[in-house]
């Protein structure tokens, strides 16, 4: 394991503790607390999982077990612009796989990882409920519909000037 210890922001840790408290520090609320934790930190590094374990009085091993079970939870930091490609059935049959390949090719990172400059990360998700727009891609909160392989470059261009 990594020996370098991540220093979490005190205010973030405080916020997480308040979240745990709002769930009465109940062990049964583990998944709900992890959802909120991922909202706060963007991902769930070991250090965050240890705080969650401590607040809910469950073992760190159990928390890690839940985090590694659900694909929604991630232990890797997301990019500033997290790209999510829907690979649900409708999107898939309309070419989501090719769109995904194009993102991977242009950004040179596999699914689940982040570009070296920390700008983009790629994840897949299953159905955002906008099948009429298939294939669908989301960058942060912004949704792109009927994306083609040629359109991928256009999407990335929108974020080119941003720092």
């Amino acid at each position: 394991m990594t020996s370098v210890k991540l220093k979490l922001k005190d205010s973030d840790v405080q916020q997480l503790k308040e979240v745990a408290k709002s769930f009465n520090n109940q062990p049964g609320e583990l998944i709900n607390v992890l959802h909120k934790a991922q909202e706060i930190f963007g991902y769930l590094p070991a250090e965050v999982q240890e705080v969650v374990a401590n607040e809910l009085n469950v073992s760190v091993a159990k928390v890690y077990g839940v985090v590694t079970f659900y694909s929604f939870f991630t232990m890797l930091p997301k990019g500033r612009y997290p790209i999510s490609i829907c690979t649900g059935t409708a999107c898939y049959v309309r070419g989501a796989d090719k769109v995904l390949d194009e993102f991977k090719r242009l950004l040179k990172v596999p699914v689940g990882e982040t570009t070296e400059d920390g700008k983009f990360s790629i994840t897949c998700l299953r159905c955002v409920g906008a099948c009429g727009l298939a294939p669908v891609v989301m960058v942060g909160d912004k949704t792109y519909g009927r994306v083609t392989t040629d359109g991928v470059k256009e999407i990335l261009k929108e974020y080119e000037d941003e720092v």
Partner: protein
Amino acid sequence: MELIKLKIDNRTVEVEKGTTIFHAAKKLGIEIPTLCYMNLGDLKIEHKPGGCRVCVVEVEGRRNLAPACATECFEGMEVQTHNVRVLNARKTVLELILSDHPFDCLICAKSGTCDLQDMAIKMGVRSIPYQGEKSTYKPDFSPAIIREMDKCIMCRRCETMCNDFQTVGVLSGINRGFESVVAPAFERDLDHSECTYCGQCVAVCPTGALTEVDHTTQLIRDLADPKKTVVVQTAPAVRAALGEAFGLEPGTLVTGKMVSALRRLGFDYVFDTDFAADLTIMEEGSELLDRLTRFLGGDKEVKLPMLTSCCPGWVNFFEYHFPDMRDIPSTARSPQQMFGSIAKTYFADKIETNRKEMVVVSVMPCVAKKYECTREEFKVDGNPDVDYSISTRELAHLIKRTNMDFASLPEEDFDKPLGESTGAAVIFGTTGGVIEAAVRTAYEIHTGKSLEKVDFEQLRGFEGIRKASVDFEGTEIKIGIAHGLGHARKLLDDIKAGKSDFHAIEIMACPGGCIGGGGQPLHHGDPSVIKARQKAIYQEDAGKAIRKSHENPYIKKLYEEFLEKPMSEKAHHLLHTHYFDKKRKDVLLD
């Protein structure tokens, strides 16, 4: 209580509502095979994840087969436990499990005592028709336990023992699907987790995924070295279980045969950890009396209750989980370590040798003892008091390996002086035994009177947490007993909350105490085996001429010639220890 009637293999049986098919079949004498199911009866641990699917049976009217261990019976149910469909399904399930299992049975440490191997033999598996990817994991070598997760079949029994019974929480199922495996958080090594090395995961593992570190090769080498004096000590619980490895009934005492086997293996001196258990009582009993006397005299600073400190799994547990309470346990070292310390000083002087030329080996029912003897505080200039510890299982292997016919071995006695012991020392092997031994001595020293009856029945039993009181001629001494770290945790939480009025508490990490230790012959989930060993221990005690530690003549001599008196400066130096705060510092607490 509602009763329901059902038919299993065309025979009618009546069971309580809520009973599973597995138990209903058992009532008819039908044993349905399982790999993951585990029921530890009185210990109130029933593990039925329904994960292995080996126990499937056919239920009339149900589309698919049902797992017998996790399916409740209903009125009028008709079950077939061994028709063609069931037998084929079980074999397929097993072939699928084996398709992701290494084929190294011939060289596996668990070979011969492996549940998976037994099942493959039972089902007549002759080929593995399924080929595909195999799980591969880096083996994890800790000082006591080896994890080879390639051999894990995800029965998750270890997880139940680690979390529900011991509340240690080191192991958990992680990942999903083909990737899933049982591991510590962040897939750290055991050595970098809060593992107490209690070894209960090893005791219930059906395969070779979890085994103990093996020192037998080192031992054979040391025994063959003419320059070394090799001394062995055997823990009380070993003699009550070793026979099982040679087909004897659980609860058969094999003390004399064990001694002669050890002598034939080539040990220069065959001694008994029981001697050191008597010594432990002298030190721990005196410490208890000292704390009690000060407490009764109005000293508010004195730490009570005093907790026993013989069990290395328990010591690891409070160092990790209750470090702020580490001034409560007795400072007395465990019998294993007291023995090593005395062997390499007092005894080494007697036979005119030195500690570097002496090898002290212990035979223990335990895997945590392997770790305990590597602790830095139990070394002098880098030389450990106890060089290494082998388990009861390793000793059985050695006896088999050296062509001894165990059954026909003569009964022999331990060597003197470190082989003499009392009945009080023997009962160290069972839950309640250490405190009973301490009471026998503390009572007589405190009151100056001789006990008419040395058996304290109120301290005996198998309940996870027991409470009793002993009358010290007008002073009532309140005693708590816990076996299993989950039960210990409850008593500790009470102490922390100021709700505990005990004067002394005995804690052992394993079910039943050392007799149910992680290094014993496997009980394969049958708690009656542990109870039989307990009976044997009390039987050995009852048969001893001397049953109180302070009456052991060789203990008296040890104090006269060497240690002066209990808790003397020398005794403190050689027989006492201190504890550490091992709470993981990288945990963000505040």
